[in-house]
Amino acid sequence: MESSALRSGAGTPRQRTEGWNRYVTRYVTGFTPLAVLSVLLIAAFIMMNAAAQNSALFGRMYSVLLLVNILGVVLLIALILLNLFHFVEQYRARVMGTRLTLRLLVMFVMLAVLPVSVVFFFSIQTLNRGIDNWFDVRIERALDDALLLGRTALDALKQDLVKNTQEIAVELETLPVKPKTGGLRSELSLLNALREQYNITELTLFTQDGKIIASVSEASFEPGTLVPDRPSDTVLTQARQGLTYANLDAIGKSGLRLRVVVPVRSRDVGAPTRVLQVLQALPPRYAKLGESVQSAFAEYEKLVYLRGPLKFGFTLTLSLIALLTLLIAVWAAIFSARRLAAPIRELAEATNAVAQGDYQKQIPVTSRDEIGILVESFNDMTRRIHRAQTQSKRSQQEAEIQRAYLETVMGRLSSGVLTFNQRLLLRTHNPAASQILGAELKTSGRKSLAWLTEHYPTLHPFTEAVEQAAAAGQTEWQTQIQLAVNGRRRTLMLRGTSLPSWRGKRGGYVVVFDDITTLIQAQRDAAWGEVARRMAHEIKNPLTPIQLSAERIRHKYLRQVPEEERAALERATRTIIEQVEALKSMVNDFSEYARSAQMQSRPVDLNDLIRDVIELYKNERGLSTASVVPLHRANDKPGKGKAPRAVSTRLDLDADLPVISADPGRLRQVLHNLLLNAREALTATPKPMISVSTRVLTENMHRFAELKIQDNGPGFPEAQLVRLYEPYVTSKEKGTGLGLAIVKRIVEEHGGAILAENLKDGGACVIIRLPIGDAVAVSAEKSPALKPVRAETKA
């Protein structure tokens, strides 16, 4: 049974109402109330049945019992109707199990109703017939006859008494109406004499209005009665009118008696008529027989009259009992059907729940029969399903975690990874792949290699390599290809592996590739550094003796040689000295390039540094300073060659640029080299202009200080764009080609990056990015008053 919600006093009104409803439902449709009511009703019926049979114990309670039973039956009907109503509601709501319950209910009710109806019908028939059989016409007639006989016999006695009474009355007529003194005694004696003469029990003389004049009676007649019995007013009136009254009197305490009342006329004229009453007790034998006949007749008459009510009473009792039996049967049917269907309904509901995906459903096992076994099996089944499902969920979760893990790893990989299925459709890729290939691979759907080639024609070597490897059926392959991505050449190292096959199907391929451009570049740089170091070492050593020797030759032999050859010697030695000087300078450049990094980092304000260098250039009016490594100084000497044009310098410096950690001397060298390069490139440009800008840049969670130097010159030759930073790559007639190589080296020593490109509308652009790291703290101390500087100056 469900627990009562009423026990908890707290709760919302709605909850309380629901609790009340449940409480009511429990006490209206539950087992106990109906069982108790049924037992009580059966007890009441037993008592009523006893009462109907004139039992002294219950006879007085008959009506109360009847009422109680009728009310009980009505209550039972109401309860059953409520149960049925509840059931119909459930049936309409298509509650699981109600159909089965209905079938069981109908079956049980039929089983109960039919036999009870048959028994009831035949019982009523038998009862009515039985009661009718009590009565017999012959007995009735015999009783009637007996009564008639009794009456006739009494009538004969009555007639005799009337005759005697009338004779006595005649005798009494002589009595004076108003007796003299002491006359009453003579009247009494006369009456007594007459009584004895006629053998009368009691003789009373009344006046006209019923007052007793004299009365005599047998000594044994009604002892204890002082006043003689007086006739009723009607009888007196009758006597006054001269009529005789004679009848059997049934009220006497000593049994039946005859009463005769006659008028006694006075012989005196005008004297009032008196009334004589004669009471004659019947002889005991007569009296006894008469009483017997009377009581038997009366009893029989009563029975005859009560036949109908008796039948009604018995029928009522029987009907109520039949009804009670039926109702209890119906209720038992409801209860049993519900009880039988309950586990099946629960099972059906649970199955439904399992079908909906609730695998945790468990049904309480209430019985040990087949249904109980079924329920246990069901519980076992759901338990297993639930376990399997939990396991599958866990595996799924693990797979998900694995996938996320793989994705994260792939996302952080610097190598590009692409996987293809057996039909070479792209399945997965990582961000590095998109970045390296410069292709947007995130679009939906599976891409084929053809699609890749079609949308990114520059990737043709890549797709070709993959296709070839797949066509050749190689399980492991490796190749190096060259791509031009976004106008820059890139060298990629491709490694491919075919994935393991599954269920007889060929697996796909995984292609891992790295951008080894930088690596190759670094290798080249390292090789060049080594060459430069060795050359510097090997060449520098003999140069000083050569120079000294040339100077000595000049000093010693210039005055000694003839005048005409002096000029030639002088020119020759000067040439040697100059060339050795040039060689020394070149060797210094080489050693500078090959020199190992000895950074002296400290916080540097890049903007200040740029302003200093630009200021220097403005002061020198185009001359390079001695403090920087001259790159193309041959052309820069004033008076020799072309005079440099005035180059406009445009500064666009970000005031918010933080202080960076760098070696200011080397950064200065970078600036000098780049500015010199730019200026040299602008010699043929009509309106030369160099713009220098800085800004703060955030990329991939890293902050950079970006320095951009661009000119409006002819730009870098396309052919050299790829190998721009290699030594001896130069477009200039006399350049060593070490300028940009040194710039790159310094930038890389600072942990930065350099990018050189040609602008679309002419001119070259060099972008340097330096990381903003620990030096940020220093930038906080920077004056906030600094505003972005925008200056345009004529250099």
């Binding site: 009462a51 009456r151 009607t234 009848n247 009197d249 007749f297 008459e301 009473g313 009522l316």
Partner: protein, 189 residues
Amino acid sequence: MRVSVKVDWRRFVLAALALALPGEAAADFKIADVQPKFTEQSLTFAGNLDLGLSAKVEEALAKGIPLEVVIDVRLYHQRRYLWDKKIASWTLRRRIQYHALSGQYLVSAGEGEAETRESLLTQQEALKQLGSLSDLKLALPESPSEGAYSADIRVSLDIEALPTPLRPVAYTSFAWHLNSGWTSWKVAR
């Protein structure tokens, strides 16, 4: 003098029950004029109770079924501001029965030694005798004080005194519901 008719819920219930079932419109018990009066230490009455029997009851009587009528009398001392004070109450039972051998109706009252019996020739006479209050003398528990007194009287047929098989019929038939209801009378001195 009739003062008022008191409302009795039992009459309503019975009437409702009787109306719900088929029955004949029957004669009823009526209390027309009883004239209660204090005589010395007792309460006496003049006049009769009008006891009319319905055909069904008459038939039952003729077939020898004894009938018992109950006369309820209640004496109240009337008070102006409070409810009336009940002084005494009496319940009198009277029986009527047909005597087949003598062809008379026997009317009896009281019980045991105090029982009085009378035989009457006609039913009419017997009923008149049954409803007669002339000889009735009800002893008072205390002598009546000053102030107005009222007597409530009701007469009804006692169904519970009928033979058991007849009771369900009597309860479910309007013909058997013979009841005058309470009537209130001013007691004269």
